[in-house]
Amino acid sequence: MTNLDKLIKAFSDALELEPELINDELSYGTESWDSIAHLALVASIEMEFDIMLSSEDVIDMSSFKKAKEILTKYDVGF
């Protein structure tokens, strides 16, 4: 699995969305992405990539696109 596949899987698991619906436009507050799903998403990403996100990054992760940007800081390339 590529890193992109892994990230899509993390989003799809936490938000219960079909992978096809996950793209750069997906942002907090749309679909099933609420505060409760957000923490599930954070946990899901941390598990998928075996990292610990800082709290700054947790509150900045407002879209799928932003998540990719943040993950590059943790040496996860896309």
């Binding site: 505060s35 409760i36 957000h38 923490l39 599930a40 709290s55 509150i59 407002s62």
Partner: protein, 476 residues
């Protein structure tokens, strides 16, 4: 009365919109309320639904309905359409105010011109109105955006007395600046608004989420002094490393809406000492308008895990059946006495004409004991419900829903962080369908629902589902 507060500075800011920066002084708020009040006042007391978020206009509408002498049911604008329709059908409001487009759900209503962000609708046919009790001020759902159309009936006395008690123990003054991070359709969120308006405080009206940077930027930019949260909010805050967050203007944080684990209370207690802020652990029920008890800030360190002492004007007693338990460390049902105890429940429009059925006595269904200092501790529940994210899920109702929908026997149990469902002799594929049904109905995250299958659901000798055995099976 907080809906027409007295002895406050009319030139002080009352409401601030966190996105547009729009501000209203108490005088301006009063003027806006008068405009809407005039539009909805009539000889007859009416029922008004308010489909709302936390924007300024929704607070204006809420206060205007109270001032007009009509009864208000605040409903989250995010509630599922099918549930909105159920409520509309059962309670037949004469007036509907909504922040979002709603006309497609309304039959037999006409929209009226109204110079505000809300839409105003009135029911065309109004000769068959069932009367409302003169004391009835507010209706609140006990389950928020989920499930049951059962409502709590609150009187003017209920809401004003609870606002006063809360303002007293929190020592709210006009210098406070709370942010509305909980929905106003939820008793706890509404109590924040009521108690602060009463004292002429400045309320920052926000629909933002605590897990997004935008919320905290708003908080700091506006110089907010307090926020409120249910246990779930505090779990989020711990994940955000609250003790390291830079919140220079924060002075007070309050917690209610379910049991926060001792580990979390300790974490936030220590953080509150470090940051020199007040942390209030509190207890309440929508049936008591909002608040029943609180732990005084200076006692929290030695009373971790306690729900504290009753609010001013209230009393708590512990009962075993009809027998009062007066000795400490003996658990029984927590019974609350106070002028904030609801008039009763409503399940139909005709229930809205009923008067006070409880006379200030509320059997909470929670099991509790007191210690030798008169501090109360909750040990469990008599009734079968759990609180997920601060919202009540009735386990028997959930069971009935599954049994009716799928025609299979089911047992629901669990704790405040997990709803567990056991279904009897069903194909494995059905467990996913059952899970989906529950998630959709209650609007809860899938990670807090689990479904298991079993050949036969264990029953007791009297033929009732044996929940004790079911729970213990899981431990094996």
């Amino acid at each position: 009365m907080f809906w027409k507060p007295e002895n406050i500075d009319a030139n002080a800011i009352a409401l601030i919109d966190d996105s547009s920066g729009r501000q209203l002084t108490y005088r301006e708020l009063d003027n806006f309320c008068s405009l809407l009040t005039d539009r909805i006042t009539s000889d007859e007391k009416k029922l008004a639904f308010l489909f709302c978020d936390n924007s300024i206009d929704c607070i204006i509408a809420y206060l205007s309905i109270l001032r007009s002498g009509n009864t208000v049911l605040p409903v989250s604008s995010r509630m599922d359409d099918t549930l909105k329709v159920v409520l509309l059908k059962i309670y037949r409001p004469e007036i509907v105010l909504s922040i979002d487009e709603i006309s497609y759900l309304l039959e037999g209503y006409e929209q009226e011109e109204y110079d505000g962000k809300l839409m105003l609708f009135k029911r065309k046919q109004s000769d068959d109105n069932l009367p409302l009790h003169k004391d009835l001020a507010v209706l609140l759902s006990t389950s928020g955006t989920t499930g049951s159309p059962k409502l709590v009936r609150l009187s003017y006395k209920n809401i004003s007395s609870n606002a006063e008690s809360i303002a007293e123990y929190l020592a709210i003054t006009g210098t406070e600046k709370p942010i509305t991070n909980l929905p106003m359709s939820y008793s706890f969120g509404l109590s924040v608004i009521n108690s602060h308006l009463l004292k002429g405080a400045k309320i920052v009206c926000s629909n933002k989420s605590m897990v997004m940077r935008d919320f905290w930027n708003t908080f700091n930019l506006n110089g907010c002094t307090s926020f409120s949260g249910v246990p779930y909010n505090y779990q989020m805050l711990q994940r955000l490393k609250f003790d390291g967050m830079n919140l220079p203007t924060l002075k007070t944080m309050t917690q209610a809406g379910g049991r926060l684990s001792e580990e979390f209370i300790k974490y936030f207690y220590e953080a509150s000492l470090k940051k020199n802020i007040r942390f209030f652990v509190m207890y309440g029920q929508t049936e008591a308008t909002a608040r029943i008890s609180y732990v005084p800030v200076d006692k929290l360190g030695e009373k971790i895990g306690s729900i504290g002492v009753p609010i001013a004007g209230g009393a708590i007693r512990i009962f075993n059946g009809d027998c009062e338990i007066t000795s400490p460390h003996t658990a029984g049902e927590l019974v609350y006495y106070g002028s904030n105890v609801m008039m009763g429940y409503a399940e139909s429009r005709s229930d809205l004409s009923k008067g006070d059925e409880l006379s200030g006595v509320l059997c909470t269904g929670d099991l509790a004991y007191k210690d030798e200092d008169g501090y109360f501790y909750i040990t469990g529940r008599l009734k079968r419900f759990i609180k997920l994210f601060g919202l009540r899920v009735n386990l028997d109702e959930a069971e009935k829903l599954i049994e009716n929908e799928f025609g299979i026997a089911a047992a629901c149990y669990g704790s405040d962080d997990m709803l567990k469902i056991l279904i009897q002799s069903a194909p494995a594929v059905l467990s996913e369908t059952v899970k989906r049904k529950i998630i959709d109905t209650y609007k809860i995250h899938h990670s807090v629902v689990s479904v298991g299958c079993i050949n036969t659901i264990p029953v007791t000798q009297s033929g009732k589902k044996d929940y004790k055995l079911i729970q213990s099976m899981e431990l094996r």
